[in-house]
Amino acid sequence: MMETASHTTEAKTNYLNADYGVKSWLLTTDHKRIALLYLGSITLFFFLGGFFAMLIRLELLTPAGDLVLADTYNKLFTMHGIVMIFLFLIPSVPAVFGNFLVPMMIGAKDLAFPRLNLASWYIFITGAGFILYAILTGGVDTGWTFYTPYSTTYSNSNVITAALGVFITGFSSIFTGLNIIVTVHRMRAPGLTWRRLPLFIWANYAASVIMVLGTPVLAITIVLVALERLFHLGIFDARLGGDPLLFQHLFWFYSHPAVYIMILPGMGVISEVIACFSRKRVFGYDFIAMSSIAIAVLGFLVWAHHMYVAGISTYAALIFSMLSFFVAIPSAVKVFNWTATLYKGSITFETPMLYVFAFIGLFTIGGLTGVFLAAVGIDLHVTDTYFVVAHFHYVMVGGMVTAFMCALHFWWPKMTGKMYPEGFSKLSAVLVFIGFNLTFFPQFLLGYMGMPRRYHAYPPEFQVLNVLSTAGASILAAGFLMPMIYFAWSLQYGKDAGPNPYRAAGLEWMTASPPPTFNFDETPVVTWEAYNYDEIDAADQNKGVEVAG
């Protein structure tokens, strides 16, 4: 029953060749095409943000500020942050893979609001346009955090244009979240109960809730910054009775949960892929699903751990410290359950699985160093140093970008119908892992030694570790550039993937690759739990199907 679509796919039209021409892409309401529009745009932004990062690392090769001017350096790290967070990380998995996979995984023809979905992409591109305009006309130098009163009164850069861009992309995020929530509630295939949903759906659902509830606060905050900058209302100005700390509370009320918008969908990817290459149901399904919800809820209660040294009261700091420790628990639960999934599995080592191993290791380090920062007594020393920089790159790059690469390899055959070359992709995964650790591990040491972040020039005793970090960054860059080449190559020369090259569970694998415009020839009826690898493998054995990969 799972093989209905297999050998007739070649002749059939799919979502890629159903229509041709620029207009058919720019006016499409097909969630899969919109996902590709997002993929193209965020890939561009990823390399733009990466370019800024390389310039930062090159500047830091020597203690003196000699490669670029101090102002330029400040703009580089600001634009690196803004581009990577708002134009890459936040839309990365939800808007690309959430878009592509949520309807397919639940057996639907499309998202609940296809035109809203297209509008989300246009809003995203409009916001990105403002940010790019701000960059091209001189840049912005406030740091991605836009702290007041620097951003409202003292900065001479394009704060309002960039902030407006962030404000606009926020609406795209809200609409995508709304679309996913409604789709999951209303459009599941018959028989697909909540507890049969793939964990990727649970994770994107939890992230969508944060997007819908949190993003408006960011929008309000940015409006306040713009009003203050234009009209000097005094909201954040102590001389006029305002409070600069108010900004930090509002900003982190969104921006801490935003971390979970970025990481939760990545965790969903890991659950899918680890099950597939262990040929096993994910260990502790209920606990992984509920931990996503727990993270989404607790994530809203920990924002002030960014502000222990900012001038909040001792007791406020202690309460936020305790809550921040709590949020470590559901993350730990996920890591333990993934590890247990491997137990008594039948494990193979395809490229996506290598990224899974990398993710678990790097995310574990990222999470555990988060415990250091939750401990308020230690945070006082290491906050605003390279320790924090290393910590969030372990979570955001070691975790989220790794998960994104994992997803890109895992579902590439589904999106394009072609396999990527196994050898090159494994090499690039290894380069990313080595390059990443060499770039960011030395930064933990730098932070503990006391090197503050956002420093254009630094005391000479920090140079050795900075050189190591820059060397690692160049390996990392090579690891990220390779996939560009072999993915492009695979479009022309890659092996045909067939509907299910990994013999993976999940409704998205039961239709052709690339899928037809409306995903399924007939709406599937689900009678099994997620990750029914025992049934798939048993069926394959009866039929003697050769497993690819």
Binding site: G65, N74, D141, G143, Y150, Y154, D237, A238, R239, G241, P244, L245, R279, K280, R281, F283, G284, F287, A310, G311, T314, L318, S321, M322, F325, A328, I329, F336, T339, L342, Y343, K344, G345, S346, I347, T348, F357, G361, T364, I365, V371, F372, A374, A375, V376, G377, I378, L380, H381, D384, Y448, G450, P452, R453, R454, A457, Y458, P459, Y533, D534
Partner: protein, 342 residues
């Protein structure tokens, strides 16, 4: 202090290393033991509530222990011991200005004695900065419009990095300096050498120059509270609340006097926001502090409030002193906690 922070830090390094190696070792072991060649058929396991409870409970226990440990350290970091010497700091783009109570002023260099507790009272005259001395393991943001404070106890003479840790604009990485820890005797010699008066005496000059002394007088004719003995004690406000007269309260009462009016007084004091530099405010704070502990006295009014610079209004209805020109201030000091009727 650095020792306490490091102890917890390295305990956490040990815990983090243990869990990282545990997870990595398990993954490696499972990946080898249960690779497809060796284990062609997976065994389906749905989960184990006992295991889930274990790996929820144990980490929760561990982090709660860390929480308590770090909270204890945090209390030590944020509560300066009584009797700590005080140094005032003003951050501005892009330099650190320090004022010692003895009267020394310095820029981007902070001389401190070894073996004594030092409390920093800090503010910014523009954006947010952060006072960070890595060897002391302390950091505190320095905000415009308020005082924040931190403290340290240097042990070894030497020169140490002082950084601004909160991004503050173009020359953020140039807003660095050094903390020069000196032998206490050397410090005392340095602190009192070549200064023309203490910080409090500079504050006293401002107190007269800006006309504060016309209303804040020792006699009953003063239209503002007598400031002798006020600092560090509770002050009853006219809305019934009580605040402690600390540095922040004194600062606010100078720059924005209408916010908290001492009970029994009228909201007649003009704001000095924008008229005093942060250094002058600090001098005044130091002076009020010195009035508080009796190391300074109120000056006699230097000029008669005759030209109507400030509206002449009786302090409190029914007060004994209708006249503004009491020649000799009565010895009676206004209590630190003024009552509604004096």
């Amino acid at each position: 202090m650095a020792g306490h922070v490091d102890a917890l830090y390295f305990a956490l390094v040990a815990i983090a290393a243990f869990f990282t190696f545990l997870i990595s070792a398990l993954i490696l072991f499972f990946a080898i033991r249960y690779r497809k060649e060796r284990n062609p058929h997976a065994t389906q396991i749905h989960g184990s509530t006992a295991l889930e409870l274990m790996w929820t409970g144990i980490p929760l226990g561990i982090v709660m222990i860390i929480f308590v440990w770090s909270a204890v350290i945090f209390f030590m970091q944020t509560r300066p011991p009584k009797g700590a010497m005080e140094i005032y700091a003003v951050g501005k783009q892009w330099m650190w200005k320090f004022q010692h109570t003895e009267g020394q002023r310095e820029i981007n260099q902070l001389h401190v004695p070894a073996g004594r507790d030092v409390r920093m009272i800090m503010t910014s005259q523009d954006v947010i900065h952060s006072f960070y001395v890595p060897v002391f393991r302390i950091k505190a943001d320095v905000l415009p419009g308020r005082y924040t404070s931190t403290w340290f106890h240097a042990t070894t003479p030497g020169r140490y990095h002082l950084f601004c840790a909160e991004y503050c604009g173009t020359q953020h990485s140039g807003m660095v300096g050094e903390v020069i820890v000196m032998d206490p005797a050397d410090y005392d010699r340095w602190a009192s050498g070549g200064v023309d008066g203490s910080l409090a005496s500079a504050g006293e000059k401002s107190f007269q120059q800006y006309g504060c002394s016309m209303c804040h007088r020792g006699d009953a004719a003063g239209r503002g509270p007598n400031l002798v003995g006020v600092f560090g004690r509770p002050v009853l406000l006219d809305d019934g609340r009580t605040v402690t007269a600390d540095e922040s309260y004194v600062r606010e009462s100078i720059l924005n006097p209408g916010v908290k009016i001492a009970s029994g007084f009228k909201n007649i004091m003009p704001t000095f926001e924008g008229q005093l530099s942060e250094e002058e405010v600090i001098g005044l704070v130091a002076y009020v502090k010195a009035l508080g502990d009796g190391t300074a006295n109120l000056p006699l009014p230097v000029s008669e409030p005759n030209s109507g610079t400030y509206p002449v209004a009786p302090k409190v209805e029914g007060s004994a002193a209708k006249s503004d020109k009491t020649a000799t201030p009565p010895a009676k000091a206004i209590p630190a906690k003024p009552t509604a009727k004096q």
